[in-house]
Subunit: 270 residues, 2 copies
Amino acid sequence: MPRTITAFSNPLIKRIRLLRDKRHRREEGLFLAEGLRIATEAREAGVLPAYLFFGPDTARHPLAAVLIAETEAAGGEAIETTIDILSKLSGKDNPGAIVGVYREFETPLAALDRGRAPLWLAAERLRDPGNLGTILRTADAVGAGGLILIDDCVDPFSVEAVRASMGALFTVPITRTRWEDFLPWLRGGRGQLVALSLDTDTDYQAPAYAAPTFLLTGNEAQGLPPAYAAECDLRVKMPMLGKADSLNAAVATAVMAYEVLNQFRRRPPA
Amino acid sequence: MPRTITAFSNPLIKRIRLLRDKRHRREEGLFLAEGLRIATEAREAGVLPAYLFFGPDTARHPLAAVLIAETEAAGGEAIETTIDILSKLSGKDNPGAIVGVYREFETPLAALDRGRAPLWLAAERLRDPGNLGTILRTADAVGAGGLILIDDCVDPFSVEAVRASMGALFTVPITRTRWEDFLPWLRGGRGQLVALSLDTDTDYQAPAYAAPTFLLTGNEAQGLPPAYAAECDLRVKMPMLGKADSLNAAVATAVMAYEVLNQFRRRPPA
């Protein structure tokens, strides 16, 4: 049976609220995900929360009732609480009916099976949590094998990244690594490393991509370091007809990922 | 000569701070844009601010010096201020060297020349300012004739939308209208209305798009109202191989826009 917490001063509430801060997430190995939709995506991916907080009327909702029951059956704790506390936990004025607290997870580089998918996404020093979440969502849509985060990227378990991922955080394997580890791993097997770059004349539709293709997107403001770009097998860019000569990093990644996907649809990879 | 303001209590500072609020933007017809990059994009598009606030050392920066001089020459006011006040104006802890205050602008539907570009973007009840700004940036990149905002969209002059647009706000014509006005206008001339939809089996690469193509993206959570989708000439969707069956609205718009652009690159529109 779910217990009820209505006091902000409750020690568990205090602890969970701190998970909005990256240092506390690291220490606890836990992160927050707000909303029934994301919790349902997680459940469908086989992931149940360590703690599930829900509002006064939420248990009547059929999807929420299933989540509560399964969370408890899996050894997690379901806790009824107030809208005010849900709002504090989620940081939203109008919180959804549910806030889940999940254990962090990660796929080590060495555990990635590059033969599992023809397309992989990678990002280097990505700074914006919305971009990271959006790229995860795109990775899910294009069936990418995973998202490889290189060097100092924003935390994929931040509230904003989780929200922007719309649940794809739970369906797309995430690997965090450093360039000096990534490059030897990549060169230790098949795979074409393709950089999105502004410093090239190669149109992104010109090459015939080979599986597995690893698409690498650089930092939002600076792009890839030239030394990293030089190590890539291909550097490509989208046509830009406007004045700004730039695209949002998550948008550029998606346009590029769909090009590779479209080529593989016409000419299935071996 | 620029004057100097160092007091938060200065009436102009108080007035400008209120521009973070939509109601005050409407009343004043002014909006805020933060950062030298966006101000420079605006200047290159021929738009100078009504007020230009800059920090203590900013005037030494060559691009900033040009902006200050041109703003004053055009009848605007350049004002040196403190980092603290720049931070309050921009809402950022680490503000850029410049905050510009610009007059709002808009292109009425009746003034749009649909023959001016083969591709146009439209969005209906878009809620997220980051998505709106990102779509403006994409519109600039694909050379779209403009962005048509239908029904109750988020304000394109909000600080977040302006920031996400990275200056494309100043280069892409923006029209705000209602569906009941848009549809008769559209049908009063050439043009194919293409809806991004999840309720269709038509792959987005299947149709041969005709110029001018108007790409219509619906609300982030609900998509287009069925009655609107039914009025479109085509409803198309991207392949989605993952579990979520959804893409971020700005991402879907960009993937679709590049498909149309790519078709027109292979087969130039009449």
